[in-house]
């Protein structure tokens, strides 16, 4: 992992703030956040409910517009006081993979189609899209459920399909919001190992929001959010095992 220090970060957040509403009802969800995540890193984002974790993830994913600051993804400045990229959806499609607590699979597509659809939207032909989707489902060990509709999947299966979808376009940035909240500890471990594998094999930056102490040992680095402010729990690239021991 030493190499990642010398390469520019895949996620580079500087002095980022985000507030909702105005006047008395104003909520400062994020206050002057600085955060870097490098290729191959799996980073945990912890903090109490309402501390701004999801907001931070959604800002990085270009789903929410920041109030101020600077966001650079994969070497490209996306936001600097205003959006600098015209086509944020294309950016998401090509560079960012999302995994949510609620899997957000499209209910009218079967498992295989749910994965293939993002490939087709990105421009792949029907055949290659199916092929790649099938490979991903195999990789995540849910290919036996490929013809099934999402409503009949178990929580763990649905989450794995959602991960397959997030990985489909080989994104360099993977954002996961409580991906293991609905899973038992064994399944949670499997999901985290998988994310580690993707980070290592694809050189992706993985950012995981979680409450889940069971998976703390799977992170390279953890950040703690409180009242919209970020604190580094331990130095960069410390093995997460050390974190677990110290606690």
């Amino acid at each position: 992992m030493a190499a990642s220090i010398t390469t520019p970060p895949l996620v580079d957040i500087q002095n980022l703030s985000k507030s909702f509403g105005q006047g008395d009802g104003r909520v400062d969800a994020l206050k002057h956040i600085d955060l870097q995540v490098y290729a191959g890193q799996v980073v945990g984002l912890l903090g109490p409910s309402g501390s701004g974790k999801s907001t931070l993830l959604n800002v990085i994913g270009c789903i929410l517009e920041p109030s101020s600051g600077r966001v650079a993804l994969d070497g490209q400045v996306v936001y600097d006081g205003r959006w600098l990229q015209k086509d944020l959806r294309r950016l998401r499609l090509d560079r960012i993979g999302f995994i949510f607590q609620f899997h957000n699979l499209l209910p009218f597509l079967n498992v295989l189609e749910n994965v293939a659809v993002v490939l087709e939207i990105a421009g792949a032909g029907t055949g290659p899209a199916r092929q790649r989707a099938l490979e991903l489902l195999q990789y995540l060990q849910v290919e036996h459920r490929r013809e099934v509709m999402p409503s009949s999947l178990s929580g763990g299966e649905a989450q794995r399909v959602a991960i397959a979808r997030a990985l489909a376009n080989r994104p360099r940035i993977i954002l996961a919001d409580e991906p293991t909240a609905a899973l038992d500890s064994e399944r949670a471990g499997v999901v985290m190992d998988l994310l580690r594998k993707v980070a290592a094999e694809q050189g992706a930056a993985v950012l995981v929001v979680t409450h889940d102490e069971k998976i703390f040992d799977r992170f390279d680095q953890m950040f703690y959010l409180r009242d919209g402010m970020l604190a580094d729990i331990d130095g960069p690239h410390t093995r997460s095992k050390d974190v677990a021991e110290r606690r």
């Binding site: 929410l64 294309r90 950016l91 998401r92 999302f98 609620f102 499209l106 990105a122």
Partner: protein, 377 residues
């Protein structure tokens, strides 16, 4: 991968039900247009049966359908003797009520001269009129059957042939009688006072009165020339066939046409509102899915395509089903319903355009959905 198709398949029951409802609505619109066409066709059918070029009626009248007209029975000979007339025939028209198996049967009686212009070209059952008295050709709509005997006035008539699509502008089935039988019937059914006057020798001294004479002109002759020639007789007026049809559509069916036209427009307006509402709610129900699509990076074209394709599918299925339905039901209408391919096509285009326009509301909603909506539990 076609998202619209898959979404439809996923909510198939609801989609089919929606299409069914829409098809009933569009079937209604189609039937209104068909009823209108039928009305015009029925109004014109009587005037078209003689395949005449010229109608000769009482002076100053636009008869015999729009206004009453009485002219002497020998008018036919006079007209036939004109050099440019190929053939002419006398006609009488009147509404009668006959008793039939306990109920009343309204008939529109046409008296004509077999062998001369005026009667139906052919019959669908039985035979055409012979030369003997008390025979009748009846339209199948009357419910009369071959060989059935019907009392009209003082005489009993036998149905010897059946015709099709012969009705008055009021929708009553037509019964054809030989001219003399029809004239006698007209005389018998006149008010008693007039009849007594007539019997005392006051004019008209004869029962030889007809309502119109139709003529076919010699090849190469314009009916207009004859209209002028006939007009020189003070007691007669002539109308060309096209003038006659004009009178019929203007005076006889014009109000009904406007009535039906307005109703059709209202139905179409109601349909568009309903279609718009359906498409809007269909989009509302997909807010989360649309947000998810945006979240994973789908461009607006994909989302608009999804909505418009479903709208078009609904339009096509709804319309086709409606057209099928009305085609199956049209013979059960008491009056003629005529479905012209052109009308169907025009409505199909209108419905398609309506659906695409109406989906605009849904599209606007869809474009406003924030991708973050997908994240809400």
């Amino acid at each position: 991968m076609n998202l619209a198709l898959r979404d439809i398949r996923h909510n198939l029951g609801r989609f089919v039900l929606t299409c069914l409802g829409l098809s009933l609505l569009l079937g209604l619109v189609l039937s209104m247009i068909g009823i209108y066409r039928g009305l015009v066709e029925e109004a014109l059918s009587l005037s078209r049966t003689p395949r005449a070029d010229l109608w000769v009626v009482e002076a100053g009248k636009r008869g015999p359908f729009a206004e009453s007209s009485r002219i002497p029975g020998d008018t036919r000979e006079v007209i036939a003797s004109l050099s440019r007339v190929a053939a002419a025939g006398s006609l009488t028209y009147q509404s009668v009520e006959a008793l039939r198996s306990g109920g009343k049967l309204r008939l529109y009686v046409v008296g004509y001269e077999p062998g001369r212009p005026g009667g139906p070209e052919n019959v669908t059952a039985g035979r055409t009129m012979g030369r003997s008295h008390y025979e009748m050709l009846a339209d199948v709509k009357s419910g009369l059957v071959l060989g059935e005997q019907v009392r009209l006035g003082r005489n009993v008539f036998t149905v010897v042939g059946l015709t099709r699509d012969q009705v008055s502008s009021g929708g009553d089935p037509v019964a054809y009688l030989m001219l003399q039988d029809a004239q006698r019937l007209q005389f018998e059914l006149e008010p008693p006072v007039a009849r007594r006057e007539a019997e005392r020798g006051a004019p008209p001294a004869t029962t030889d009165v007809v309502n119109a004479v139709v003529a076919r002109v010699a090849p190469g002759t314009a009916p207009g020339q004859l209209v002028e020639a006939v007009g020189r007789w003070k007691h007669l007026t002539a109308l060309s066939q096209s003038a006659q049809e004009d009178v019929l559509t203007k005076s006889v069916v014009d109000k009904s046409r406007r009535q039906i036209g307005l109703f059709t427009v209202i139905l179409l307006a109601v349909s568009s509102v309903i279609i718009a509402l359906i498409l809007y709610t269909m989009t509302m129900d997909k807010v989360r899915e649309i947000a998810t699509l945006k979240l994973i990076g789908a461009p607006d074209a994909t989302i608009i395509g999804l909505i418009i394709q479903e709208a078009v599918a609904m339009a096509v299925i709804g319309f086709s089903l409606g057209a099928l339905l009305i085609n199956l039901a049209k013979d059960f209408f008491p009056r003629r319903v005529i479905l012209l391919p052109g009308d169907g096509l025009a409505l199909a285009v209108v419905v398609l355009v309506l659906c695409v326009l109406a989906s605009g509301m849904g599209v606007r909603l869809a474009l406003k959905i924030e991708p973050a909506v997908a994240l809400g539990g």
